[in-house]
Every structure is written in C-alpha cells, then in structure tokens.
Amino acid sequence: MEDRKPLFSAKNIAKSFAGTQALKGVGLTVYPGEIVGLVGENGAGKSTLLKIIIGAQPASSGAMEMHGKPFEPKTPMEANREGIGMVFQEQSLIVNLNVAQNIFFGHEKQFKKNGLVNWGQMNKAALEVLREVDVTDISPRKKVSDLNFATRQMIEIAKVINVTKQAGSDHCLILLDEPTSVLSEAEVQNLFKQMKKIASRGHSVVFVSHRLDEVLEITDRIYVYKDGMSVGDLATRDASEKLLYEMMVGRTTTTEYYHLEKQRVPGKKVVLEAKDLGLHGVFKHVSFQLHEGEILGLCGVVGSGKEEICQILCGDLKPTSGEVQVRGKKAKFSSPVEALKASVLMIPKERLYEGVVMTLSVEDNIALSSADKLKSGPFVSKARIAEQAERWIKTLRIKTNGRKELLMQLSGGNQQKVVFSRALASEADILILNHPTRGVDVGAKEEIYSLIRDIVAEGKSVILLGDTLDESIGLANRILVLQDGVVTGEFSAEVGGKPEQVDVVSLMM
C-alpha cells in the first residue's frame, strides 16, 4: 500500500479554541480507494480535524495536501471543488426545501435557462443522483422536513457524492462524521454497501463512529486519536475492539492529579434519588441514589441521555415518567428557581451560553444565585455582595483586577472559578457539575479538582459529568454508565478500587 501515492495527507495539524488546544499536531493520510476509520473519545479532536479538512474552520498550524498539491480550503465550497465532501454530524440539509433543491443547493446554475431554474430538469437529475445510492422510493419533490432522519442521512450522502463528482476528479474524498448514529441496522448496511461502492471506484472515505464494531467491519485502516493527538494507526485486520479501547483511553490515571488522598467514603444518608426516571425518546428507566458527601459520576457518550438527566435534576426540563426525590421528598421542579430552593444547583456545560453573564461584573456574577441571601431588609446589601466577592476571589485565587471588573475580561479558567464561586455562594448542597473543567487549562483543572474534594468534605453531594472519562473515574466514588438512554452498568470507584477505563468504555459504546 505504501508504494501508492496518497490521495490526501495532513501533517502536524494543530487547532486551538479560546486558549485550549483541541488538536496538538495530528496527521492523517488517505490512499485512493481506501476507507479509513477515525476513533477516539469525545473531545479527542476527530470532528475538529474533519472540519478543518472541509474548510469549515482554519487550522492554527500544519499543512495539508490533496492530489499531491498543497491544499488550504477557506470554505467548504473550495474543498468541494477539490473533490472533498462531508456529511456533518449535525445534519446540514435545509428542511424547508425539497430533496432536489437540497441536492443541488449552491449548484443550481447548471439548470438555469433565461434566468429561471428548470425544476423539471433538476428533479430528473436528482432522481439519477438518488439512484446512484440505491434510494429509489423518494420523490425529489418531497420536502425534507417530511422525511425521517435516516432518509435525510442518505440524501445528505447522495448530495455529497454528487458535489464531489462535479469536481471532475477521478478520486474524491468523502468525510462521514458519525453517519450511523441515527440509522437502523438495515440502513447502516445500505450505507456500508454505498461506501464500498464508492471505494471500489477509487474514491476514499473517512469514517468517524463511536461504534467500534462498525469501524472494524467497514474500514481498511484505523486511526486512533486521544486528547488532540494521534496515538497510532493500524490496519483493520490487526485491530480488535479491546486493542482500540486501550489505545483510546490510555492508562494514565494519576493519584495526585485527582487528590485521591482527599477522597472520602460517602455517608449513608440518601440526599437525592431518581426513581425509574424517563424522558420520552431520550432515556428511560434510570434509577440511582446519591448519598451525602458522595461524588457520583455519570458516564456515556454524547446522546446517551446524561445531559438530559442533569437538566431534569436541576429543574430545567421536566421528565415524562418516573420521579425525583430530594431528601426523601418528591420533587417536581418547574424551573431552576425551585430546584435552588430545594438546594439543587447545576454548573452548566456551556459556560458562555449558560454559565456567566459577560456584561456583569465579577461580584454580580458571584451573587447571581445568592441574591436572596444577601438581603438586609428589602434591599440587597452592596456591602455584603462586595464582601462575598472578595472572599471567593481570595479563596479560589481568581485572577482579576478587582471584583468590579467585567466578566468578559477574565480568562476561561477564571471565569469557571467565578461560576464555581456562584454555586458555592448559593449554599446549595446538591451540586450537578456538568463538565466542570471544560475549556480550562491544566493548572486550573487541578485547582478545581481540589475544590470539588473540599466541597464534598463539607458534606455536600455532587453529580459529575466529567470532561473526560479519566476525570470522572478519578474524582468519583461511584460511576454510573449510560448507553443510548439506558443504564448499562455501575462501578464502585473507591480509592484502590477504581475501575479500568477500558471496562467503563466497553459499556458506553
């Protein structure tokens, strides 16, 4: 295989977002007619790399080559012209247009006659394109919003194949970012058939999936990414699920990093309980207990339902079945205000959109969840707001030019500390930490870990959705694993008895 010229190659691609490195110099080489698998945990950098190849995002550094020539696309259109097409994880069809209009979106020129689009001709051409991928039961006139997700996926693939074919190149590169997550078994098989057909014509496919069995079935070669780096590539015939798991998670749980010396045995009292909780179409039959002073880690890939469980617990979403009990009492929160009254508060995942108010000062952000507690008479005491802010800035060592500074002027890690300060100042004693170290550098991470240990030492309880699996296992007393909305396993994670990541991952995927 090495004697052939690669169709596409990327070397040393790095990408950083707002201070964190999503990619730290990865490489990818694809030969003509090859199906390459790309696997790794959430946040390993797979999607980021694909977005760079398709021109949706620029790389911070590194070089790419296509057809042996330097390649630096600024827009997906440019990449299309070179023969690269991508099916995005989030679907990119325009649902209020019909199938044919979507397939030829941006390429309507070929059907133009006297300034008008010849729709009949376009529909006929669309029928051709669909037949190419063996979709014969869909009218090109049908609106995309009337189709189910699986059909949309096939149309998306048909569209991409068509776009790359238009490039006039013999060899195209098609990027598929988790295309199978919404498909049924039969549809997956059809997709695989199409992929093989594409490859047999000398085109190449990059296939990203969380389902390792699929990757092993369809690919020729597999790249494994971890934390923005490539940890190796191997021929599929040499790979096994177990080997891939081990490569994906590494073996680096360190004792000091997670302050294991401070990990305690939780109390016996149950502070929060989920009983047969369900949210229609997302997860079902989820039951667990959270004890006083416990850190319970929820693990699962994106779409496993763990995010929605958090939203329900903090009052942002209502369950469709089952119930939540807080300290033995049934809790039906209609909004986060009520959850906070019952002493439950979430530190949200998307700091920018859900966690902080950029246009307010540090002190006002810290007081956001505790305004009622800072009253003297009918008024909020400015002195107490200031005093509270000063105290937390000191305790958590928040780097700021003073409590009056606008939050937007702080770095990501310090903003996250402000969010923690706010949560701690609220005196809520059941905290849901949704990716508490997201977008935070290593130093701040360790401080936050130490802080989480201190929180539970005070008798507070924590539900943790770790930013990485390593983090969840390292911090938690107990791990609950979810897959596709169902609890698939539970591990004790006491000091000395932490589960292997491989074992947890195998229940997640």
Binding site: G19, L374, M408
Partner: protein, 334 residues
C-alpha cells in the same frame, strides 16, 4: 485569547462612555445653541412648560427602561396610554357627577385607569413569557387592540366637565419653574432606580438581559420577573395617560400614538441597549430631556409641524446609530 479579551473589554468600556455622555452632551449643545439663537428660550415661561410637559414621557420611558433591560420591548405603551387617557376623562364626565364629591370621583377615575394599565401589562407579560410570543410581535398586536379600544370608548376628544376640574388641577401646581407633575415623575424615577439597583428582582433584570439562559440556570426567577416588569410598565403607561388628561383637561383616543417612538428614543438616548442588559432609570431621564428639548426647540424656532416629525425621526436614527451597542451579536429584539 487573553489579548483578545482585553481588547474586547476596552472597546466595551469606550462604547459605554460614548453612550453615557451622549445624551448629556446633546442636552448641553442644544441648550447652548438654542439659548444663543432664541432670545426667550431660557425664559421662565418656556422653562416651566418644558419641565412640566416632560412628566408623562418621563413616567412612560422609565417603565420602558426596565422592559428593555431584559431585552424585550413594549410597543403597546402609547396605545395603553390612550385607553387610560379616555377612560379617565370619560369616567369623570359620565359618572363624576353621581359621586359624593370631586375627591372620590378623582380617586375612582385614577383607580379605573390604573387597573386597566395593570391588566394590559400583565396580559402582555403572560403572553410573552408563557406562550413565548416575541414581545415585539405581542406588543405590536396589543397596540392594534388598544388603539381600537380607545376609539370604541371615545371616538372623539372629550373635555373634562367644569365641575370636575378639581380632579386635574394638581397638574398646574408648581414650585418655581418646577411643576408638581415633574416632581411626581422624578419620585417615580427614584423609586424605579432604587428597585433596579438595590432589590434582588431588580438586579436580576440586568442578568436576564445579559444572558437569560445563564440567569435561568443560576436559579433566577426569570418568568416571574418579566411578568412583574411588564405589569409595572403597563401601570406606567396608564399613569402617563392620566397625566396627559390632566395636562390638556381633555382626552383624545389617539393621544398616545406618537409616544411610542418618543419613549424608545428616550430610553436608547439614555443608554439602554435594545439587546438588553444595559440601561438605567437615571440615564433615561437624560434621554427624556434630550427628546423634550429637541421637540420644544423645534416649536420655538418655528419648524413646520409636518416637518417636525421628519427632523425628529432623522435625529433619532442618527442618535441611535451613534450610541447603539453592537458588541452583542444576535437578535436585536428578543
């Protein structure tokens, strides 16, 4: 990243300064210009007029400031003001005579008008918050409803009957050049200011305007706050209507219509951001004076009545273009 955030912060602060001083410097410039060119502009009679007539606009603008603070808007204020205005006078005319005395009649008329404002504001708040209709559209629809309602109650202007003049005489009370209406309006401003800056609910309005999602997750009563503010805003609109009735000793079913633009202009000139999160009652007072001086100045110079609206509209566009906050991307009106 750190470099970028610092720049962002500085640009933000510079813009804040521009907005902060914009209406203040506009007032000074206008006053200086007008008093040099127009001999009697700063004379006591014009000044008395100017200061007294700003009261209704000030009351309504202060109400709107709170709504804009959390990123919504109420375009029905002018129409609510009209309905309250005709309700007040119509009641005095039809039922004032059957009341034991003028005092009771006045109280009853006040109560009816204010009740209406309260209900109108509450309805808008509930529809906006619970049914998730954008406030822009919801209030536009209500504007249409209340405009017609005002015409249904009184299709032509009605005067306050002479025996009932006691109900509106308070409007002419004055202390030097400062009239009682302005004093009352300023008292309201101070109340709103204290509410906005010192109470838990008031402070949460800034958080909701800055990032509604974050405020919700942080456990702020977003829905309740919004409905409460819309209700108070309705109250302010109806109070404005009563003031206008007292000023003219009569009512007109279309009296509030031109106020909608004046109110928004006053708030924005006073530093309120249409995207929410910024603005203050005190800033709005400056905005109100800017608007009032422009209008009064145009009258004084003798700008043709039809041209006045053209001039004013252009001025508002220019002023908003200069002071508008473009740092937050996204929808202008939520």
């Amino acid at each position: 990243m750190s470099q970028k955030t610092v720049d962002l912060g500085r640009r933000y602060r510079v813009r804040e300064k521009i907005i902060q001083y914009f209406s203040f410097s506009a007032i000074i410039l206008l006053l200086v210009g007008l008093s040099i060119t127009q001999k009697n502009f700063l004379g006591s009679s014009n000044l008395t007029n100017l200061l007294r007539d700003t009261a209704p606009l000030m009351i309504m603008s202060v109400g709107m400031t709170s709504v804009l603070l959390f990123g919504s808007i109420d375009l029905s204020m002018g129409a609510v003001c009209s309905v309250s205005n005709v309700l007040f006078v119509k009641f005095l005319k039809e039922y004032g005579g059957s009341m034991p005395n003028v005092g009771v009649a006045t109280l009853a008329a006040f109560a009816i008008s204010l009740c209406f404002g309260l209900i109108a504001g509450f309805l808008l708040g509930v529809i906006h918050v619970k049914l998730k209709v954008p406030s822009f559209i919801a209030s536009l629809a209500f504007m249409s409803v209340w405009q017609s309602t005002a015409l249904l109650i009184a299709e032509a202007p009605i005067s306050v009957p002479k025996p009932m003049w006691g109900a509106v005489s308070w409007f002419k009370v004055s202390f030097g050049v400062v009239g009682l209406p302005l004093v009352l309006a300023l008292v309201l401003v101070v109340l709103v200011h204290v509410f906005q800056t010192r109470t838990a609910v008031g402070r949460s309005m800034y958080a909701i305007g800055g990032n509604e999602r974050a405020a919700r997750i942080a456990g702020t009563p977003v829905d309740r706050t919004k409905i409460a503010v819309f209700t108070v805003n309705g109250l302010c609109a109806s109070l404005g209507g009563i003031f206008l009735a007292a000023k003219l000793r009569s009512c007109a079913p279309t009296i509030g219509d031109p106020f909608t633009l004046l109110i928004v202009a006053s708030c924005v000139l006073g530093g309120a951001s249409l995207t929410g999160g910024k603005g203050s009652a005190l800033g709005t007072v400056l905005g109100v004076f800017t608007v009032a001086i422009i209008n009064n100045g145009m009258n004084f110079i003798g700008v043709d009545a039809y041209w006045q609206n053209v001039v004013f509209g252009v001025f508002v566009l220019a002023a908003i273009a200069v002071s508008m906050d473009r740092s937050t991307r996204g929808l202008v009106i939520k």
